[in-house]
């Protein structure tokens, strides 16, 4: 399909060049001292000028006939044909031919630029593998389609090949390049037993991978699907400009009609006024104005994916440029999400080992990071067969029967609810505190800690530098913990002791607060939520823009999110804000600039100061400048990051 378009383009270019040559040759002949015997023969001149006119514009004329047959009066081809035909009719041959040729120059450039940006973004998205090398048990190898990979298949990946499927390395080790997915330029080292993701490129060593899912469920396919469906979401600016174009053309055409008929009825000079009307028609096409806006957003989304961020629609990029507040989930987003047991205290009559053993027994079935850490720290766990009646109380803790005893492991709230008598002030440590009770009696306390990621502080600093007013943290942690983390990371606000179901409400409060602080007309009033996906999906979808961490986040969160950070690097958020601002800035500049020039030439044309020549050159010129401006989004490098 692309080659067909390219062929079309080549053809058009040669037509434009030939007609330009012909046109200038005519000009030289006519105005040079070489006597041009037939110069005064109007019909002959008309014939001569019609040649470059038709060479450059026959498709425009053909389409205009077609358009008018289908009642498309406001068709740009028809309007261009009408304007040039009008000019020919009143003897302005030169202008008519020039207008058509320059109009086509503009169209050509526009198509060229669009193709160019499509190609450059397509390159970014070329992560889909074309084939896979399947190894049979007897050692023979067959090249198969990635779609035919089955779970459990062993695939050979040679140096430099794309990894066709998500799986586990079963043989070999080496560096793989993940940049197409994550934007991370440093290769990742993998060895036997490591997980590997489709779409990455193998380094210098041969490795063997066992597929752990089918192609349709692989990372590559999921990403491509997200990108495909992203097509349906347009930004406000894009919507504005298409809506505007629906009114712009009719208004200009009606003005053209009015200006070529009304004034001459009273003051005469039909030819002069019709020419002014034709000048109007020449500027009536809004294409150039319209095209630069989606192009800028397209480039912006492309630039984001170059940095390893998947933006699911240009509207989200626009929102990123208008943020008032960014809300972070704490665990797993700002912190590592991996807890470590730091201290265990046992009540009198119990040993530390015993406390851990009971705690581990109840937490065994839970996937919560706190539970995992406690289970991890237990050296000699109970046999799972004596554990029964496990009751998971979300956000509070777990109750279960171990042997004949009823064990409760949970936070302060759960202990109060269960009526366990504990001196809570006894442990004044900072961290996550899990109390353990056996048959209604407090037997010990475990303190765990989750440390912030090394670049969380930098990420928050750079976000604030970008002018985001508030950076808020939501957490289920105790107030003491939240306060410490908030101070450590330089957050402007935090909300603590939230149960998972409270987080949406906390976010809504933040949204209310933004509304009360800002004027209603203010556009910088949006809120983003960043989470890793554990219990986050509802909050992610409630925010104006939901950001999920891709490699750690859950599938549900990535599905619900509007933007996915593929390699979890929070520093990229500030980069994305910069890209978003730049995109919005470029498209706004283009709109204002193009509209101003159009308006200027409509005015000049109306007063008879600008003729068709200057009008078409101004129009094409402004189109080219706007498009070039938008194309700057394609060349964004890591300087923005």
């Amino acid at each position: 399909m692309i080659t067909k378009l390219q062929k079309k383009q080549k053809h058009k270019l040669s037509r434009i060049l030939i007609s330009l040559l012909f046109f200038f040759a005519l000009l030289v002949l006519r105005y040079s001292n070489i006597s041009f015997q037939t110069a005064n023969n109007g019909l002959f001149l008309l014939g001569l000028y019609l040649i470059p006119y038709f060479i450059s514009g026959y498709d425009v004329i053909r389409k205009s006939v077609f358009g008018i047959c289908h009642g498309q009066v406001m068709d740009e081809n028809f309007l261009m044909t009408l304007a040039t035909a009008g000019a020919f009719a009143i003897g302005q041959f030169e202008e008519a031919a020039a207008v058509m040729i320059f109009y086509q120059v503009g169209e050509f450039f526009q198509n060229y630029a669009v193709e160019k940006s499509r190609a450059s973004v397509k390159e970014l998205m070329s992560i889909a593998p074309e084939y896979a090398n399947l190894e049979y048990e007897d050692g023979s190898v067959e090249i198969i389609e990635p779609e035919d990979i089955e779970v459990g298949d062993i695939l050979i990946i040679k140096p430099g090949e794309k990894i066709p499927i998500d799986g586990i390395v079963v043989e070999g080790e080496g560096f793989i390049n993940t940049s197409a997915l994550t934007g991370e330029s440093i290769p990742r080292f993998v060895e036997t037993g490591d997980n590997i993701v489709s779409g990455c490129i193998n380094g210098d060593n041969l490795i063997k991978v066992q597929a752990d899912r089918e192609y349709d469920a692989s990372t590559v396919v999921r990403i491509l699907e997200l990108v495909e469906t992203a097509a349906s979401r347009k930004s406000q600016t894009e919507r504005f400009i298409t809506r505007f174009s629906r009114y712009y053309t009719p208004i200009v055409v009606i003005s053209a009609l009015v200006i070529s008929i009304i004034p001459p009825i009273f003051i005469g000079n039909w030819i002069g006024w019709i020419l002014r009307g034709c000048t109007f028609l020449v500027i009536s096409c809004p294409c150039a104005l319209v095209i630069s806006v989606p192009m800028a957003f397209f480039g912006g989304v492309g630039a984001a994916s170059k940095l390893g961020m998947l933006v699911k629609g240009s509207n989200y990029l626009e929102v990123m440029g208008n943020l008032d507040t960014i809300v972070f989930d704490k665990t797993g987003t700002l912190t590592e999400g991996e807890f470590e047991v730091r201290m265990v205290e046992a009540a009198s009559g119990y040993s530390v080992d015993e406390v851990v053993k009971y705690a581990a027994a109840v937490e065994m079935g839970s996937t919560h990071p706190i539970a995992a850490a406690i289970v991890e720290s237990c050296e000699k766990p109970f046999s799972a067969s004596i554990i029964s009646d496990v009751e998971n109380i979300r956000g509070k803790g777990i109750i279960a029967k171990v042997g004949m005893s009823r064990i409760i492991a949970g936070n302060r709230k759960l202990m109060r609810e269960q009526g366990i008598d504990i001196d809570f002030d006894e442990i004044n440590d900072i961290g996550v505190i899990v109390y353990i009770a056996k048959n209604k009696k407090h037997i010990g306390t475990i303190v765990l800690e989750d440390s912030p990621k090394h670049n969380s502080r930098n990420a928050i600093e750079s976000i604030i530098e970008e002018g985001v007013k508030h950076v808020v943290m939501l957490t289920g942690d105790s107030n003491t913990n939240a306060e410490r983390t908030a101070a450590e990371l330089g957050l402007t606000k935090y909300k603590s002791e939230l149960l998972p179901q409270d987080k949406v409400r906390a976010l809504e409060e933040i949204i209310e607060d933004i509304k009360s602080r800002n004027k209603e007309t203010s556009i910088r009033n949006k809120v983003a939520f960043v989470g890793d996906g554990i219990n986050d999906a509802p909050v992610i979808s409630r925010a104006d823009v939901g950001i999920a961490l891709g490699s750690m986040g859950s599938d549900a969160a990535i599905e619900a999110a509007d933007i996915v950070i593929m390699d979890d690097d929070l520093l990229k958020i500030a980069g994305l804000i910069r890209i978003a601002r730049k995109t919005v800035g470029i498209s706004k500049t283009n709109i204002v600039f193009a509209l101003a020039i159009k308006l200027l030439f409509l005015t000049l044309g109306g007063f008879g100061i600008a003729n068709m020549w200057t009008a078409v050159i101004a129009d094409v010129g402004v189109a080219i400048l706007c498009i070039l401006n938008s194309m700057r989004m394609l060349t964004i490098k890591h300087s923005l990051y």
């Binding site: 498309q72 669009v114 499509r118 469906t229 347009k234 294409c287 989606p294 957003f297």
Partner: protein
Amino acid sequence: MKKTYKIEVDCPVCADKMERAAKKTKGVKNVSINFMMLKMNVEFDEGANPETVMQEVRTNCKKIESDCEVFY
């Protein structure tokens, strides 16, 4: 039901016209065209047969823009 189709069209204004023409087609609930991606997202009415509806969508688009193409 939602489906995405490849399209071919020259300019964003024409794409907007195609979008409106496609929206008016019977059996179509909503349409969104992304000009830069050359993609058409079609949401069908319940019980509509995408194949026949898309045939009609293509005809309607062709009417307003002879140069366009819808691949279905």
